[in-house]
């Protein structure tokens, strides 16, 4: 890519917004995923009795909804990112390319 085009894109306000938003959002969500997963692993490592506590009268324990919860969280957090990216980031990228590739 020629340097001139690169500079024009890099200086475009929509590009600046896109870069800042996507990187920040991606890092925050990565952090959230790590907190949930490693939190789960540490809970398993340090507090087994809590996870093996019965929810009610039956045999179902806290471990079951928490384990399924981590799986569902993983899918949902991915969906949240993709939804925002589809709505917002593609528009911003489109604005940039329209502005510079006339």
């Amino acid at each position: 890519m020629e340097t001139d085009l690169t500079t024009r894109i890099a200086n475009h306000p929509s590009y600046q917004a896109l870069k800042a938003k996507r990187t920040r959002f991606g890092l925050w969500l990565t952090l959230a995923m790590m907190v949930v997963y490693y939190g789960f692993i540490l809970l398993v490592a340090f507090n087994k009795p809590f996870l093996a506590t019965r929810l009610g009268e039956g045999v179902t324990t806290y471990a079951i909804p928490i384990g399924f919860g981590v799986i569902i969280f993983t899918v949902v957090i991915t969906a949240i990112y993709v939804r925002r990216a589809n709505r917002e980031y593609d528009d911003l990228a489109e604005q940039v390319s329209k502005a510079v590739l006339k």
Partner: protein, 575 residues
């Protein structure tokens, strides 16, 4: 309820396979040793139908595979939804289907902890890599890493990382395939390995990425369909009450413990233990380290990364990971239900147990026997055929990634300086495919009797320690240089392999050294080898004052602009 007597030896075998304790760390979800079964003609018939159908697909794909670009990316016109299914098909191995459902049958909740580890890498791939990979790369992840760096050293590193990961993953799959087919179809081990190797070569050689993609999609649909049916039948028999399913499983497990001579209170505690974490996680360092290998290894598996170049743009790339994550997450929920179903319907049915009360054919047969219990002999044949198809889809993806690293990165760029013509590169890919196929078959046969349980987790640890750090730093860190990336990457590669060799699972279990003699006490090297790789990349980059380093840093802006906007990205992957 029927009391099932499971003798201690059988329990110990199961422990060894799926690890009540430390061994599960290393186990990956491997297939383990298997006993040969009587020839199953229904399963063979179903599998023959699958093979004929996929040959048809390969013939169609072969007509479309004219250039090296077609071979690597299937022409780049695959949609996000299709690619998501193909990624799921590439990732859900037979070992994770049979191994995890068996681990759940044996240890209950512990099996779920294991499968969660295999899922949590996907959001990380989505947030940090998927779109950027698509915008920067063309055929292999080395394209992305070497975007602004000196081509030769970086390509050599990336090809090494790819081939080492592919080799360990492939050996694990081939040995698993041999064991599984011996188990399911009653064929000899070596015939099974040769069969898998030959079919895989046909798909990759003639149909390239297009055939591989469709084999993976078909397999994913069959596997998800079959597993859904089993989970549905299990839940239906409990009136769709998970509590009823769990209660019955606890009752069965309590009965087994009582039959083994445990006093009632102890038997009840043992029965209930499947509802919470057991011995899966011993020390927190191993737990975190293993978690890191699984989470970040997913983001560094070359055959998975390669799938992002088959879609036309960043939007489809991110859609593919969302679909893949959804299908894989759903699949792990199903394996959990299947494992609990197996406790109720397999462990209580003398038809599936041998004279000593163990599972016929070994611990991995949990899901297979359950298929028989809920769907009869025809469904059993179907699930067996699906398990075989699953292995084929995974080895085809691995071989394609290995072939691309040799033909595109080494031959195309390092040897020919990026000026190789498409026909010559395609020829090299095909020769490499044959060579890799033959090597995989020979290694598969050589490792038949070896304990290769550590290989899948080693492949993940290497991917997390070598490929992922270099990929992430080259894409996101401005000051990263060629020297930093190559030195740090090799540090991660060498240290992850070395630490695995001196860890208990290889040093003691596989190499047979006395217990307690392993130099590295933890079950996974990732925490240490990943740190070493990142520190290496950082240190050797900031100390790098060479002219090349200045050029590397100056190239960052252009790379970032393209990775964020996709402007200038190779369109539908080079038509």
């Amino acid at each position: 309820m029927s009391r099932v007597h499971v003798p201690m030896r059988q329990l110990l075998t199961l422990c060894a396979l799926f690890g009540v304790s430390a061994s599960i760390w290393a186990a990956g979800a491997d297939i383990g040793q298997a006993e040969k079964q009587p020839t199953n003609w229904v399963a063979i018939g179903m599998f023959a139908v699958f093979v004929l159908f996929t040959f048809g697909v390969t013939k169609w794909a072969a007509a479309k595979t004219k250039s090296a670009a077609d071979f690597y990316t299937g022409g780049g016109g695959i949609t996000g939804f299709q690619n998501g299914l193909a990624i799921a098909g590439d990732y859900m191995s037979a070992a994770s289907f049979l191994g995890i459902s068996a681990a759940v049958m044996f240890g209950g909740f512990d099996g779920l902890i294991f499968s969660i580890g295999f899922l949590v890498g996907w959001p990380v791939v989505t947030f940090l890599l998927a779109e950027r990979l698509r915008n920067l790369g063309k055929f292999t992840f080395a394209d992305v890493v070497s975007f602004r760096f000196a081509q030769t050293p970086v390509r050599i590193f990336a090809a090494s990382g790819t081939l080492v990961v592919v080799a360990f993953y492939l050996i694990a799959q081939m040995v698993g395939a041999g064991q599984l087919i011996k188990l399911l179809f009653g064929l000899d081990y070596w015939i099974a390995v040769v069969l898998v190797g030959s079919l895989m070569m046909v798909y990759v050689l003639f149909g390239g990425m297009t055939a591989t993609t469709w084999v993976q999609i078909i397999k994913a649909v069959l596997l998800l369909g079959g597993a859904s049916f089993m989970a549905f039948m299990v839940l239906a028999s409990f009136g769709f009450s998970p509590e009823a399913m769990f209660a019955k499983a606890v009752e069965v497990k309590t009965g087994i413990a009582a039959a083994a001579g445990k006093p009632p209170a102890e038997a009840a505690a043992q029965g209930f233990s499947i509802m919470g974490p057991g011995g899966f996680i011993k020390d927190p360092i191993s737990a975190i380290s293993f978690g890191m290998a699984l989470m970040f290894g997913t983001a560094g598996l070359p055959h998975i990364l390669m799938r992002f170049f088959t879609v036309p743009n960043a939007k489809e790339a991110r859609k593919s990971v969302l679909w893949a994550t959804t299908w894989i997450g759903y699949f792990y929920l199903l394996t959990f239900i299947i494992g609990f179903g197996a406790i109720s319907f397999v462990l209580t049915n003398p038809q599936f147990l041998d004279a000593k009360g163990g599972l016929l054919g070994g611990g991995n047969m949990a899901a297979i026997h359950l298929a028989n219990a809920v769907g009869g002999n025809v469904f059993l044949g179907f699930i067996s055929a699906v398990a075989f198809a699953t292995i084929l889809a995974v080895v085809a993806g691995l071989t394609l990634a290995g072939a691309a690293a040799v033909s595109h990165d080494i031959y195309g760029v390092v040897i020919k300086g990026g000026k190789a013509d498409s026909a010559a590169e395609l020829k090299v890919s095909r020769v490499t495919t044959i060579v890799l196929g033959v090597i995989a078959v020979l290694l598969g046969i050589a490792f038949e009797k070896q304990n290769i349980a550590f290989m899948v987790s080693l492949a993940f640890a290497i991917a997390a320690s070598a490929n992922f750090p270099v990929l992430l730093m080259s894409v996101l860190w401005k000051d990263c240089t060629t020297r930093g990336a190559v030195v740090g990457g090799f540090l991660g590669l060498v240290s992850s392999v070395a630490l695995t060799v001196v860890s208990p699972s290889v040093w003691e279990v596989t190499l047979g050294n006395p217990q307690g003699s392993a130099l590295f006490p933890y079950q996974s090297p990732a925490l240490f080898s990943m740190t070493l790789a990142f520190v290496g990349i950082w240190l050797f980059s900031i100390l790098d004052k060479s002219p090349r380093a200045a050029q590397d840093r100056a190239g960052f802006l252009a790379q970032q602009v393209r990775s964020e906007t996709g402007i200038g990205a190779s369109g539908a992957s080079g038509h």
